[in-house]
Every structure is written in structure tokens, then in C-alpha cells.
Subunit: 287 residues, 2 copies
Amino acid sequence: MTDLPTESVDLTWVNGRLTPTPEAVVPAGDFGLLYGEGLFETMRARGGRIAYLDRHLERLHRSAGEIGLPLPGDEELRNGLAEILAAAGEGELRARLTVTRGVAGSPEAPANVPPTVMITVRPAAPPPSGWIACWSPYRRDEASPLSRVKSTCFFLNLLARREARARGMDEALLLNTRGELAEGSLANLFLRFGDRLCTPPVEAGLLPGVTRSVLLERAGEIGLSAEEVSLAPEDLCRADAAYATNSGVGIVPITTVEGRVIGPATADEVLEGLRSLLWRPGDFQTP
Amino acid sequence: MTDLPTESVDLTWVNGRLTPTPEAVVPAGDFGLLYGEGLFETMRARGGRIAYLDRHLERLHRSAGEIGLPLPGDEELRNGLAEILAAAGEGELRARLTVTRGVAGSPEAPANVPPTVMITVRPAAPPPSGWIACWSPYRRDEASPLSRVKSTCFFLNLLARREARARGMDEALLLNTRGELAEGSLANLFLRFGDRLCTPPVEAGLLPGVTRSVLLERAGEIGLSAEEVSLAPEDLCRADAAYATNSGVGIVPITTVEGRVIGPATADEVLEGLRSLLWRPGDFQTP
């Protein structure tokens, strides 16, 4: 199966069984399906390796602890990823790892059953050159534990994104219930003011993305001072540049918000530097 | 299959196929599983009929409109319900009807594919005599469209409920982001002050339950004046009685909140009257 052309790769691994995605099934009684009791990670892959796999697994463990979701051993997750990537071949890929509670009987007092593990691999889309954004009417509840984890209760984010598209925009930006900037529907946000690179703290009600953590750590390498700081929606209009970050897509400049141009109307010379911090060959790890 | 003993009934119908629940499967690519894009209704059934079926279908349509979820025709839903109830036989049952987006390709721009319809039937549990309750640390976001629909993004409710049980309680009560009383984790709430029966309005960030709508309409028959009114958490301690309502369980008195007894420590003579308003023989409708 290593000869499959990458553009047609669409494979799914469910609890040890690898098939083309259209043939993959899960039990109808899975609590992921019935109640949204599940977590997922979306990861960039190439050549059988996954960018920042250790960080993704660490976040998965932290999130599972936060909501009380039992996880299988890392060995099982790594074996599944290795198997599906071997079948998917070369090329730029996106892998999604989903773990749900499984078929656990009583929703109030779930039985101790094996979780459902599902991995899907598809070709990565080419990176967009920029996103035009709008404000979403929906809010992140910074008091909810689900605001800090990548839960399969993801639909409000999708709805925000689809409504942005229906308005001819690419991405929707969400505030929290205190009116602070939280995140995009599918991405974390960074604002650049000169050589300061700012992103809202986790307490603002956002998912701490892996790409976000890499940029916070490495921004100093290109002379930027990175910090987590509470941001107001008005700060977007004052920024020299705004970036959306997402583990599948990378770093995407946000060019306008509700039609208002962000930053000076010149090419952002920092973008390439930021992109050079991400997805270095050594960042891709063998499962 | 009509001879199955009711206590062992556990059937699932998925897109026209009826099987014992353990054999039922859905595609792994279903957006209900991947993103929590789905709605459900939990209904009381007996003798092949469903209590308030028309109201449940009406709510499903209203909810689907709210989040843009395509529904199959009512004919298909009714046929599925009739088929599974015929197989389940007599006895008190709970039916859950779930509709998800299906396998829709792009999450941002879903394809126009048939939704997944899933119906499960199980024996109804005997009604609890009362629930002891606690306050949940989680909030209902009254600004979210998901607060008003029974979405499969249901996990925060479950988490609240499980945490209540871990504290030795039965039910968790949730406030909204303005600090007003919203609902229980699995039920609507009513407070009784003398002959006034009060429940928070939908704008407080709650799912307008079918049992709730029946009580609002019929309370006058037993001399109560029912109203939707904003309630504060302190109002619970002033009430003569508090009730949780849920289409699967019916009407359950809430006896204490965080250990504090609600109402006078005498039997609530109104409870039986309220229960007489619900699940009348004529309320059960043939699918």
C-alpha cells in the first residue's frame, strides 16, 4: 500500500483495524457519538514521522486528566500511528487521533471499558497565504474545562467557522465571556507589536495548541519577545500583524478583521521567520 | 421478537437497520462522532406509542433549524420508531432518537449527504423518589445556540452529573454566565412558591424540555399558576418545593441542595398532582 498516490490517501485505523475510511465503523453505543465524550489531536506528518508527537501525546494526557477520560497506553497509540503512516506512504499528511470513552453502559457511572481509538490520515492541504476574519457571535467560556481541551464537543467552533464562510470570510475570531480575545474557531491567535509577539493566556478560555507552544519557545531565535498576555478585541487594530496557528495548517496571517486591514499595508517580513521556526526536520518524530 | 422480556430489551436502529445494540455500528467518519454535530431526543414509550411524539419532533425541527442540521423526513423517523417499538414489545421504555450530519467530507463546507439516524430503545428505570442536589462549578452560556438545543455536544452536562455523584449527590444544578438559575445537568427545574410554579425562561440558557412545556400548559388544572421567570440561586432556599423534569424520568422532587433542605419538612402534597398532569394515556402517540 506504500505505492498509493498521496492525494488519494484516506485511511482509518480503529482499535487495531486499518481500512480505507469509508469502510471504518465504530459501535453505535460509543459515548463519543452519544455524548461527545472524546478528545482528539490533529497532527502534521511526513515520511512516517509526526511533528511534535511527544507534545501532542503530552497534551492528550493532560486533557484526559482534566475531564477524567481513560486513555490506552502510549504504546498502543504509537503502534497505531506507525501502522497507518506506513500504509499512507510519503508526502505531506494530516493525521487525526481520536480517543473516546467507548461503549460504557451508564452515562452517569460509566463502566471501565476499553476506549475507542481512531486514527485517520489524509493529505495536508497547501498552506493558505492569508485569512480574512470576522468576529463570531459565540463565546468561549473560560470557566469551562472544555475550553482548555480539544474535545469532540467541537461543534460550536465548526458553526462559527461555517458562518464566517457564509459571510465570505475564512476564519471567525472568538472572545470569552469577559470580552477578551480568546482564539479562532480552528486556531490560536498571535498579535505582533514591533518585536513583541503576544498571545492570550490559557485562562482566557482557549486550547493551548502545540504550534502555539513551539512559537512561544522559539520566537527568541528570530529576535521576537513572546509573551502570554490578556488581549482586547481593539488590540487587533493596533497590531503590526496577526497570525493564526494550527497544527495541521501551520502559521497563517490574518489580513483583515471585518474588512479592516491589520497592520501596515506592506509585506510582513516576519512571517517567513516565524515559519522557519516550525516543522524543522528534527521536529518530526517516529511513532 | 415481541416476546422479548422487557428488561433485556436493548435494540438499535441505524438508517433502516434494526439490530441488538452491541451489533449496531456507524461510519467512523460520521460528523456526530468527529465533531459532535448532532441532536437527540429522549422519549418515554409504552405499548408501541411515544409520549408527546409530536412535540419531540417539533423541537427536533426547531433545534435543527437553529444549528443548520439537515433532517430526514418525519416519515423516515416515524417509520424507524414504529419498527423498533414493535420489536421491543410492551412495558415502560425509553427511546433515544439521534440525528447526526453523517459522513459529510469537509467540516467547513459539509457535503449534502444523508444524515445518520439512530434510535435506541431500553427499559425505563423506575422513577426516583427524590434527588439530592449540589451546585455545579460549570455554567450554561445563555449566548450559545447550543444551550437551547439537545446537542450531542453533551459532555459538560455528563461531567457535572458524574461529579455530583462522586460527591454522593444525585443531580448538579447549573447557573448561567449571569449567575441566574438555568437547569439541572439532565433536567429542567421548577420552583414552587405556594401556588406559583416558576421555571427559568429559555433565555437563561436552557434546553426547553417537553415535560417542562407540558407542565407550563397544564399546571392550571391543579390550581397552580405557572410562569417563566428569571430565578436566582437563593430562590431555591425560599421555595416550598423544587422539581426536576426530564422526558425519560418524569418529575423528581429535589429534596436538598448542598445539604440544605428545600421547603417545609413535610410531604409535598402537590407532587402527585403534578405527576397526574404527565403521561396520560392520550399523551402517548403512535409513530
